[in-house]
């Protein structure tokens, strides 16, 4: 299993997570085909792609929500199977899902600590509330009260709660699925700051976003998915049009058409 394939990118830290040939099928539909992905410590990897490119499916595979149909996953050099969300969390892969996965009937504190409550047989509400406030402060979050049910919060506030929750366990990797989609200008900047802070602490960050500006602002590597396959790895210096071309799959068409036109022009000469 442990094929020490040399990574093609200059690693900032040691590799945390390695995916090789991961595929996921839903019945006849291949949501992911033969995906390779490396996530290193202290590095932000952006996953971009069009709708239906398989970004969210890939995140769910890494979060243990879906099991891959084929391929291998290596975590800290050990081959692993992520067969439940609990296991992924335990290993240190925290996820902020696109649908946030919050319990609307519970308050903010209960949601933050869900599944990881302090003192399981006599909940330490005071300590949990203090830690909740501290964490939300660090994120410059504007949550009016942590004792209100999630149902009473706005979309942006819920997003913040979800991000705060993923950071609670000090994970090795944090995956953010469209974290800035519902946020205001200041909160988006806060989340980007936060991503950098998390990276500087040596965590790996996986960021999914449709917003190229956000992606280029923080990503060390930009991995493009198209129709469930790898479609190139770029850096923040890559031009916007190149990225868009890779995402939409227009490259081959445009490039081939150009080349064909050039060749046509050159032939008569």
């Amino acid at each position: 299993m442990a094929t020490s394939q040399p990574t093609t990118h200059a690693a900032k830290g040691e590799p945390i997570l390695k995916l090789r040939g991961v595929s996921k099928q839903f019945g006849a539909v291949s949501a992911l085909t033969d995906i390779d992905l490396d996530i290193n410590a202290g590095e932000v990897v952006a996953l971009v792609g069009d709708n239906g490119a398989g970004k969210s499916t890939l995140v769910k595979v890494l979060a243990g929500v879906h099991q891959p149909t084929a391929g291998s996953i290596e975590f800290m050099g050990q081959p692993v199977t992520l067969d439940s969300p609990g296991k992924a969390l335990e290993m240190g892969i925290a996820t902020v899902f696109q649908d946030l996965a919050l319990c609307e009937n519970l308050d903010v504190v209960a949601n933050l600590f869900l599944g990881h409550e302090l003192k399981p047989w006599a909940l330490d509400e005071v300590q949990m509330e203090v830690r909740a406030w501290t964490l939300l402060r660090e994120l410059a979050a504007r949550i009016p009260s942590v004792r209100e049910p999630i149902a009473s919060l706005s979309g942006g506030q819920r997003q913040t709660v979800a991000i705060a929750r993923s950071l609670l366990l000090d994970p090795k990797i944090i995956m953010l699925d469209e974290p800035t989609a519902a946020l205001g200008v200041a909160q988006t900047a806060e989340v980007l700051n936060l991503i950098e802070r998390v990276r500087d602490r040596g965590h790996g960050v996986v960021l999914i976003s449709h917003n190229m500006e956000d992606v280029r602002a923080v990503a060390d590597r930009i991995v493009v998915l198209r129709l469930g396959r790898n479609n190139g790895i770029f850096t923040a210096e890559t031009s916007n049009s190149e990225l868009v071309a890779a995402i939409t799959g227009a490259t081959e068409n445009a490039v081939s058409r150009r080349r064909a036109r050039k060749e046509e022009l050159e032939q008569p000469a």
Partner: protein
């Protein structure tokens, strides 16, 4: 208190939130909650007062101390069953077979203890174990095959009833000895007055001691507290209400031990639901199962625990019912037992839609149900009318639950 130099409490830094302080604030917060559809115990309290007033005016015997003592004796068995129903309702599931389960449990008591002569403790344990196994089966059907609990427990209702008739055999009913401890517990054992008075004071004392310690810890952590006056007022009201009730009951026979056991179970269940990780997980699974699963909660195990608890409590209810009636018969657990247990939980404020509820709803709900049943019996009304009225009360309770849910949604309270 309001030292301007002191930094704002950790949870008081947002100026948009109104902070209710003192007794006035507590009352205002309560009114706000009710208006937004977070009714809590309010409907059941109002219902209990209304029902008592109506029945007392129709027949003064209703409020006589000894009638109320009887009412408490009767409430314990179905109350236990209802407590189990609360567990599965919080998950958004249902168990329709609790009546049959209680009937089977009482049949087991009759056969194992009265007929075969096994020790009573062994018979009770066997009944509880049968309940646990049945709950395990329901949970497995749900977890493994995705069989809705509505269907699995409906088939369980019939299967368990069949098993009850089978083990009772052709005789159909087994009488339990009136001299046995179990039947005495179910019919005559009453707490000494000093003990019942002590137990009436205890909750208030625990509330104050616990509240003070929480306040101290919150202050140390720079968090705000609702204030001493609110705590003392709540504890005082509770103690006064309990003392009046107990003193009044002591005018008659007193507080039954069997009812004490039921209240103890409610208190333990309340602790488990509100103060433990298991309870938190229960509400999370009921509120958003997928979110709970992604938080690392083992949803299958939570379901397993809830169904096992529900069926075991139903079995315990059956044991108490057989003790109350001093018989294990084919009629045990049939009729309105099922509906009464479910109605009690819903009337008490546990939502049929999952994610909301409390152990107290079993206690308050069963008092309402039992008051109706007792009052109608006193009026010499036939059981046909009793069924119709109980059915209507359940319908009203579900309508209130539904309306409150819509109101909560529009007020952003989940």
């Amino acid at each position: 208190m309001s030292d301007p130099n002191k930094p704002a409490a950790l949870d008081r830094s947002d100026s948009r939130v109104r902070h209710d302080e003192g007794i006035g604030g507590a009352i205002r917060a309560f009114v706000d909650r009710v208006r937004s559809g977070d009714l809590g115990m309010l409907p059941v309290a109002v219902g209990l007062v209304l029902i008592s007033a109506v029945f007392a005016s129709l027949n003064p015997v209703f409020l006589a101390p000894n009638n109320l003592v009887n009412l408490l004796f009767d409430a314990a068995a179905v109350g236990c069953i209802s407590l189990g129903i609360v567990c599965v309702l919080i998950l958004g599931e249902i168990d329709l077979s609790v009546g049959s389960m209680s009937g089977l449990a009482s049949a087991l008591i009759g056969v194992l203890w009265a007929n075969m002569g096994l020790p009573v403790a062994v018979a009770i344990l066997a009944a509880l174990a049968a309940g646990a196994v049945m709950g395990m089966i329901y949970a497995t059907l749900l977890n493994r095959f995705g069989m809705p609990s509505f269907v699995s427990t409906l088939s369980g209702l019939l299967a368990l009833l069949g098993m009850q008739l089978y083990i009772l055999g052709p005789t159909g009913s087994i009488n339990l000895s009136y001299n046995s401890a179990l039947v005495k517990f179910g019919q005559i054992l009453i707490m000494p007055h000093w003990l019942s008075l002590l137990l009436a004071i205890l909750p208030g004392v625990v509330m104050v001691v616990n509240g003070l310690s929480v306040m101290r810890r919150r202050a140390a952590a720079n968090l705000s507290s609702p204030g001493l006056s609110v705590l003392l007022a709540k504890a005082g009201l509770l103690t006064a209400a309990l003392l009046i009730a107990v003193v009044y009951l002591n005018q008659g026979r007193g507080v039954p031990y069997m009812f004490g056991l039921f209240v103890l179970l409610v208190v333990v269940m309340n602790y488990l639901l509100t103060r433990t990780k298991w309870g938190r997980s229960m509400f999370a699974v009921g509120g958003n199962r997928e979110a709970a699963r992604r938080s690392g909660i083992n949803v299958n195990r939570i379901r397993m625990s809830a169904f096992m608890l529900c069926s075991s409590l139903a079995a315990l209810g059956g044991v108490l019912a057989s003790a109350r009636l001093a018989t294990a018969s084919q009629q045990a657990g049939t009729g309105d037992v099922n509906l009464n247990a479910i109605a009690a939980a819903v009337i008490g404020g546990t939502s049929l839609f999952g994610g909301r509820g409390s152990a107290w709803s079993a206690l308050l709900g069963i008092l309402v149900i039992q008051a109706i049943s007792n009052g109608l019996t006193l009026l010499n009304l036939s059981s046909s009318l009793r069924y119709m009225i109980t059915g209507a009360v359940l319908a009203i309770a579900v309508i209130v639950d539904s309306l409150a849910r819509q109101s909560r949604a529009s007020h952003g309270r989940g």
